[in-house]
Symmetry: C2
Subunit: 388 residues, 2 copies
């Protein structure tokens, strides 16, 4: 393929300084700001898509990969959109849809980001990577590393018996257990990487990862015509929301779509940094804050300002939902629609209910929810085991 190495650049989100794709980059060389990826391709779908290729590869010209032939795939993407009749009836919402991101290789949305991330690592000749083990991200990353022949070294700090950790172990990954919390774990990783000269991946800060997530937007535009009025996404680090925002803006630029759906972020009441920014108040997590929505148990997302822009720029908002509502909709999805997701995924239905109450979503609106992970990936919360 005759694509130049300059087909994409990493642009600092703070000072605008531009970097080439010759290294794995998380931060600006000049000011240490986080990076975004920009492409040197004229607008218009002709140059920007490859219709014949499978999965994410059909968007290859707008992804930070050099050659689709080297793409590291486990079959990710092309996830279905189906109507939610049962929960829709509960909400008196006739046009409620779900995009089922658990139809992915490790049963969560993280696979889109990691397909791109690991393809980039392989492109660059990197042979080993370190990141946090545990969670959907770790499970996904370990699987893609195994697929690409990269060594994955995971650092864990909680729940060695969780289904995700057991799955990571099967990939043959090396796991180091750290006593302490997420911060202690990050410090241990940084020390280990510095001492051993191994890449500290920190996917949650990565621009490559968001590029993978933006393929959700491209698929939605192919699947739903007209586009939904609202899209509901759970937000921890917020890579789905950022991916949706970037993907839809690229398609507006291409003339492929005319307007962007309202993008709404859903957080738990216990972890609501983005809701606080949008509603304009100070927020810190309580000392013993916790939530059944473990996938979005994040108090300091690295791209908070960009997340606020995605919501506000699209005419959307952010909403915090209580535990009881998450669990109620978690159960209702299973019993009314036969859909068994992680509690984190159920937040989007809880958020939809709240926005209907607040008059932000009308009964006649078309609403698309993103269901991010399969139920078996997370033990069923004790509090959800009671009858419906």
């Amino acid at each position: 393929m005759v694509r130049s190495e300059m087909a994409f650049e990493l642009v600092c989100t703070v000072c605008g300084f531009r970097h080439d794709g010759s290294r794995y980059r998380l931060h600006c060389d000049r000011c240490t700001g986080l990076l975004d990826i920009e492409y040197d391709l004229p607008p218009g779908t002709g140059a920007r898509t490859v219709p014949g290729l499978p999965g994410l590869c059909r968007y290859a010209p707008m992804l930070p990969i050099k050659d689709p032939a080297g793409f590291v795939t486990l079959g990710e993407g092309n996830t279905p959109v189906i109507p939610l009749h049962g929960v829709g009836r509960d909400l008196d919402l006739r046009l409620l849809f779900a995009k089922l991101e658990y139809f992915n290789p490790t049963c969560s949305f993280k696979d889109r980001g990691n397909a791109i991330q690991v393809t980039v690592l392989k492109d660059l000749g990197i042979t080993a990577a370190v990141d946090i083990a545990g969670g959907n991200a770790g499970h996904s990353l370990a699987s893609y590393c195994a697929r690409a022949g990269l060594k994955f070294i995971g650092f864990g700090y909680e729940d060695p018996q969780s289904p995700k950790i057991r799955a990571i172990e099967q990939t043959g990954a090396e796991i180091h257990w750290i006593e302490g919390d997420r911060r202690d774990c990050s410090e241990a990783m940084a020390e280990f990487c510095a001492a051993n000269g191994i890449l500290n991946l920190r996917y949650s800060q990565s621009a490559y990862f968001i590029e993978g997530q933006k393929t959700i937007a491209y698929e939605i535009a192919e699947q739903l015509d007209p586009l939904p009025d609202h899209i509901m996404a759970p937000v921890g680090n917020g890579s789905i929301l950022l991916g949706l925002w970037k993907g839809f803006r690229e398609m507006v630029e291409d003339g492929r779509i005319q307007a962007i759906p309202r993008l709404h972020a859903v957080q738990s009441e216990a972890f609501r940094p983005l809701v606080a920014v949008i509603e304009g108040y100070d927020w810190r997590p309580s000392l013993h804050a916790d939530t059944v929505a473990v996938g979005i148990r994040i108090s300091e997302p690295p791209r908070l300002a960009a997340l606020a822009s995605a919501c506000q720029g699209s005419g959307g908002t952010a909403v915090a939902v209580p535990e009881a509502s998450i669990l109620r909709w978690y159960r209702r999805l299973a019993s009314s629609d036969g859909i068994f997701v992680e509690p984190t995924s159920a937040t989007v239905i809880a958020g939809t209910a709240t926005l209907i109450q607040r008059g932000r979503i009308d009964k006649g609106d078309r609403v698309l929810t993103i269901l991010t992970g399969y139920g078996l990936k997370e033990p069923i919360p004790e509090s959800a085991a009671t009858a419906n």
Copy 2:
């Protein structure tokens, strides 16, 4: 839609007696033989496919459903095919592929059969159904019943804490626990159904279920050109093998394909009724026979003769694989290819290795394996927890 109720008939596999689709039928009215489904449509893809529709619906004219608009879907089908580079290298097989059937709503291949099965029940106005709880089949069936608003009553006899049972509970299904084995459970179900006038589904005998499974063949023909030389399927009751055989024969009739791939059945050494039939010896399971391949722990598949025809008619065979080989390839799939499946799924790689050794598969052949269920659906066997 202007399709007559006579578009399909249920034909006895023993005496050939024909029945209409006005009732849920498992057995011949005349001789109690099992049934096959036949369609009253001329060969040729024109009348037999609906290209615009999503998922299994595009094969609707060749499925026992009345109207695609009433199709009960959770997004099943359209599962990806990917190359197995790592395991392929281990086997010195350059063209080894996998069809990933865990990209389905409940992460197993059973969803194809149950989408059809539950659509038929709904079509016929049936509001409740009974079958065995547990296993991929029970999990899938409970989910589709919830989706369609049918009451599912499951009978369980082992492992109330398994991930699949926990998932079934979330659908709101009623579960009755029976002390004893599978036979005791079947007897209890039959009594319950007779006493309460509720349908005893017995999906493992159902012709409708096989019709759902045959969509795997249709998809393979769309995904792989040329077709693979060999297809490896795990066989318990054997619905995948029967579905492949039926689907490919229909496509030969339509002129869509010229020849059928060799269909090979893989069983565990502990449960090998089909291997015994094909190799011509008597077989019964040992008293304490067991296998990590729990999905094919079946000693009396209801359609044994038809399974033998599928293998022999396609030029394939059946092979029994030992526990150590299943576990070895279970681990290798995860560590070499990043693919985490149930041990049952790993049997197809073990079977491929055996057929290479026996000279039935050549190094240059194109081989497609069917990976049936995701790893998280089954606890990791203790014997697999050791290093690779």
